[in-house]
């Protein structure tokens, strides 16, 4: 299993580099640069261009970049000059990862519970309600849900409680985590719930469940000890793509809630043409997504003893 983890991680790193390289090269083909603004005189602009090696042919820039990559240096920001991209991004990485983890927890907890309940009471009213709730949740764009939540918490709730309850959007306090986490994680809980429900329904029909009943086990023992673990296996399969989508969907939520994370920075960097930042953020995102996927894959052998990686 260790060899598998190492192999996959290497693949992830390789993939991230490949994709980032594509972005790097693509970006260098674009016309214009970060220094074409009123506050910079043409001679200063020339100096800056030279300082950032932007006047060199792009293959040389690429080699320089790769070299820097292996030393852990992602270059300097074009906009915040003199500052290393990594130091600038570090706090934002923490923020985005924090939000992502919180959202993923919401997704998993809500999704599994909803799916479990719907699955063991198939075709009863509680199943219909839960299933419909699930479908509705992933049929609404998450910026819709996010905006509604913002309005709800900051405006409506304030008015309703006559100023007693005030939610300040932003980041920094523990109390500010739940709302954006819910906004980001709730839509995908529907997908998890649906998969869980399907898994449970499938497993309940299996022979080994009949054997369990025949031994005189109670319903909770049958469901929790026998069915759950088997039903979780197909859920883990979709958890990877879901986690990826949460990480990247954070972009939108960060925007709406004014959260200073990687997503906001990514858009900013494109708008301000701070391409070193863009490439760096992209690389980081690819790495995170890849690592999360590998970690989730490592869950398989825990659940299913037949799988030995």
């Amino acid at each position: 299993m260790v060899t598998y983890a190492i192999r996959r991680t290497l693949l992830v790193v390789f993939g991230a580099i490949v994709v980032s390289s594509a972005v790097f090269i693509g970006v260098r083909q674009l016309p214009g640069n970060a220094f074409l603004s009123d506050r910079v005189s043409p001679s200063q602009a020339e100096e800056l261009i030279h300082y950032y090696h932007l006047d060199e042919p792009w293959p040389r820039q690429y080699v320089r970049w790769i070299g820097g990559l292996f030393q852990g240096d992602l270059g300097e920001s074009f906009v915040y000059r003199g500052q290393s991209v990594l130091t600038l991004l570090a706090p934002k990485v923490r923020v985005s990862l924090g939000l992502g983890a919180a959202a993923l927890s919401v997704t998993v907890v809500v999704g599994l519970s909803l799916g479990l309940v719907a699955g063991i009471r198939q075709n009863q009213w509680i199943d219909y309600t839960a299933s419909t709730a699930a479908v509705v949740s992933y049929s609404l764009p998450n910026f819709f849900i996010a905006t509604l939540l913002v309005l709800l918490t900051s405006t409506a709730l304030y008015r309703l409680t006559h100023g007693a309850f005030y939610y300040e959007i932003g980041w920094g306090q523990l109390s500010q985590i739940p709302v954006p986490a819910i906004a980001l994680g709730l839509p995908y809980s529907g997908i998890v719930a649906r998969q869980m429900r399907a898994g449970i329904i499938d497993e309940l029909r299996q022979d080994y469940v009949r054997t369990a009943w025949s031994k005189g086990l109670s319903e909770s023992a049958v469901v929790l000890r026998h069915v759950m673990r088997n039903a979780l296996i197909p859920v883990v399969t979709i958890l990877g793509p879901v986690a990826t989508t949460i990480l990247t969907g954070g972009l939108v939520v960060e925007n709406i809630f004014g959260i200073p994370g990687l997503g906001r920075e990514f858009i900013n960097s494109i708008l301000t043409r701070d391409y070193n930042m863009t490439v760096a953020i992209f690389t980081l995102y690819s790495l995170f997504v890849g690592v999360v996927n590998v970690s989730i894959d490592l869950l398989y052998p825990v659940l299913d003893p037949k799988i030995r990686l």
Binding site: Q206, S214, L217, N230, P305
Partner: protein
């Protein structure tokens, strides 16, 4: 009189369905006395499994008991609360199910699963349960219980799993154990082991056993009393000896003659029970068997017969009763003409010489291991004959079939057909040869494309070889009628047909091009007993009419004996004995063959009582880890060391026309 441990009284179970109510169990009444072994025999759909499930209250919804009582130790199961049922299950009555591969939870350890059977009921704590679990594993003869208890199901073979499931059933000393087809999915030798185990448990613990099976011979071997079920009713019941020696219900009578047995004379044709069992939502009027019964009277059509009392508790639901039938019994008299002696000088149609097939298994990058599915097999098939290929699961017979048809290429060795070397042939030439050799698969539900009509399925080989529309249409209809399918069925889809009919379609497809050679890979193993006879007879008729040569592969020794002229026995990837059927079955040379033959239960109670099984130790070794020398030496009762573990015996003629691969053939 001691109270019966199980008393089922006028039980009726129904399943509401969109097509109408399915009456799965109708008016079933029987008792199982303390310590008695009772067998329930019937084909699929007869209601035997539903009856068994209802004893534990395990009928799958939407089915329900509509009337009747089920008394387990005097307490009625029908109408019990879930709580009461929970207490009953596993402690007063336990069940062993059919498929050992799916009956165990794949993600929990064996030990845990056995322990929870005890922990679910009072009186055990963790430690005691663990100890007892190990004792139970020892009782069911699982070697190395401590190590096995912490293993997972996927690490066990089918026979081992079935032992584990039995151990779970035994855990709380239930007075009643219900076994639903416990050995159907197992090999003959393993089946013999499980049967011995069940017998032992019954005699040592006085545990009553209700054995559900379609295999009449099994009943003969184990059960004191037998019940025959058809279309949801018990049509005959009585002491096993009585029922099998003089069956009173025509169905029982015909069923016994539709099954080939190792003792029946070879020339005797199997009885065809025409048609198939009725759909349980559209039952025939009167006696449910009358549409298929050659003795049916007008009364049978009108009125459903009640159980008619006979001697010694031997009942049968029939207006006619076989003892009253003097003549017109459907003819076993018609004997099949056995093929004339063929000279062995004639050039064989198919020759397989030292063929090997190896697979690489396991992870990449050097961790791969070699799996030898076929390990040096040699056989020859003469034109016009039927060569039977017998072997247990894992012997490699299916792989060999696919190699012969070039559906896979052998790793080593030579296969020649009509003197042409198939292994070195170019793909296009190979395609052309295909019109001469065809295959019939085991599973009639998987061998027909569900999205194609019957006409398309049968017509596909014709289209491949350039038959144009009209000629093809004609040929399709011709072939369908040859196989007993009316031409009006040509536009139907496979899912509307029964298993037997689908197999007919598969056979029609195989003979469409008028091939010389047909490989039949377990063609009747997935079919009900009464349908098996139909298909076997059909294949025999086709062989005579079209001069076909068959390679008939099966694990069922009786069937192979009945259909084949010569037979080859396969073990662990190689052929270990070949010869004429009478020779091999009558005086086998290889110890595996004799053990195999001795493990097959007989239908006739006297013959069965005299049978002395030679039980083999352990199970077939893993193909990833082959034994040195003779592959059979690990289980052989007469192996002598060091020769047998060092040198692999070659397949050689030990008697005229009778080859064996053994250092110590049993002359």
């Amino acid at each position: 009189m001691t109270q019966a441990v199980l008393s089922v009284q006028e039980l009726c179970v129904e399943f509401p369905s969109p097509r109408g109510t399915v009456r799965a169990v109708r008016d079933v009444t029987f008792d199982v006395a303390v310590g008695e072994i009772v067998g329930v025999v019937g084909e699929s759909g007869c209601g035997k499994t539903v009856t068994a499930l209802s004893v534990l209250g395990l009928i799958p919804p939407p089915g329900r008991v509509t009337s009747g009582r089920i008394l387990v130790e005097g307490r009625d199961v029908v109408g019990m609360s879930p709580r009461e049922l929970q207490e009953l299950r596993g402690s007063r009555a336990a069940m062993v199910f059919q498929d050992p591969m799916t009956s165990l939870n794949p993600v929990l350890r064996i030990g845990t699963q056995i322990e929870e059977a005890m922990l679910a009921h009072r009186g055990y704590d963790r430690r005691r349960a663990q100890k007892r679990a190990l004792e139970l594993l020892a009782q069911v003869e699982v070697p190395e219980p401590e190590r096995r208890a912490s293993s997972y199901p996927y690490q066990f073979s089918g026979g081992m799993r079935q032992r584990v499931v039995t151990a779970m059933g035994l855990a709380n000393h239930p007075p009643l154990l219900i076994a639903d087809e416990p050995t159907t999915a197992l090999d003959v030798t393993v089946q013999a082991q499980i049967m011995t185990l069940l017998r032992k448990l019954n005699s040592e613990y006085g545990m009553a056993l209700l054995l559900i099976t379609h295999n009449i011979a099994l009943v003969s071997s184990l059960c004191a009393r037998v019940l025959v079920m058809y279309a949801g009713q018990i049509v005959e019941a009585g002491p096993t000896r009585e029922v099998l020696r003089s069956p009173q219900h025509p169905y029982t009578w015909m069923l016994m003659r539709a099954v080939p047995d190792l003792d029946t004379p070879r020339g005797r044709q199997l009885i065809n029970i025409e048609g198939s069992p009725p759909e349980l939502d559209v039952l025939p009027s009167g006696c449910s068997f009358h549409p298929r019964c050659p003795h049916a009277l007008e009364q049978c059509r009108v009125e459903d017969p009640p159980p008619a009392p006979g001697t010694e508790n031997h009942l049968a639901r029939c207006w006619v009763l076989m003892r009253n039938v003097t003549q017109g019994a459907p003819g076993p008299a018609k004997t099949r003409s056995l093929p004339a002696e063929r000279s062995l000088d004639e050039s064989p149609l198919l020759q397989v010489i030292e063929v090997h097939k190896e697979y690489l298994v396991g992870g990449s990058f050097g961790r791969a291991r070699v799996l030898r599915a076929v390990d040096g097999a040699t056989i020859a098939v003469q034109p016009g004959e039927t060569l039977g290929l017998v072997g247990e699961s894992g012997s490699g017979k299916s792989t060999l079939a696919r190699l012969i048809l070039q559906l896979e290429r052998p790793t080593r060795g030579r296969i020649s057909f009509q003197d042409q070397n198939l292994t070195t042939m170019a793909p296009n030439d190979l395609r052309r040869i295909r019109r001469h050799m065809q295959i019939i698969f085991q599973d009639p539900y998987a061998s027909l494309d569900p999205r194609m009509t019957v006409g398309d399925i049968i017509g596909e080989p014709l289209a491949n070889f350039g038959w144009e529309q009209d000629g093809a249409q004609q040929r399709i209809v011709e072939v369908m009628e040859l196989c007993g399918l009316s031409r009006s069925l040509i536009d139907r889809f496979p899912h509307t047909f029964s298993g037997g009919q689908r197999q007919r379609i598969a056979i029609a497809r195989a003979i469409a091009l008028n091939p010389d050679f047909v490989v039949a890979d377990e063609p009747v193993s997935a079919l009900d007993v009464s349908i098996q006879a139909q298909i076997i007879n059909l294949m025999a008729d086709l062989q005579a009419e079209l001069s076909l040569t068959y390679l008939f592969i099966s694990h069922d020794l009786s069937v192979v004996r009945h259909v084949s002229d010569r037979v080859a026995v396969m073990y662990f990837g190689s052929i270990i004995e070949t010869g004429k059927v009478e020779a091999v079955y009558g005086s086998p040379l290889h110890p595996y063959t004799s053990s195999l033959l001795s493990s097959v239960p007989r239908i006739d109670p006297d013959a069965e009582a005299q049978r002395l099984p030679v039980t083999l130790r352990g199970e077939m070794p893993s193909p990833l880890d082959p034994p040195t020398g003779c592959p059979f030496h690990t289980r052989c009762p007469i192996a002598q060391f060091p020769l047998c573990s060092r040198e692999r015996p070659l397949l050689e003629a030990k008697r005229f026309g009778h080859d064996a691969a053994c250092h110590f053939p049993q002359y």
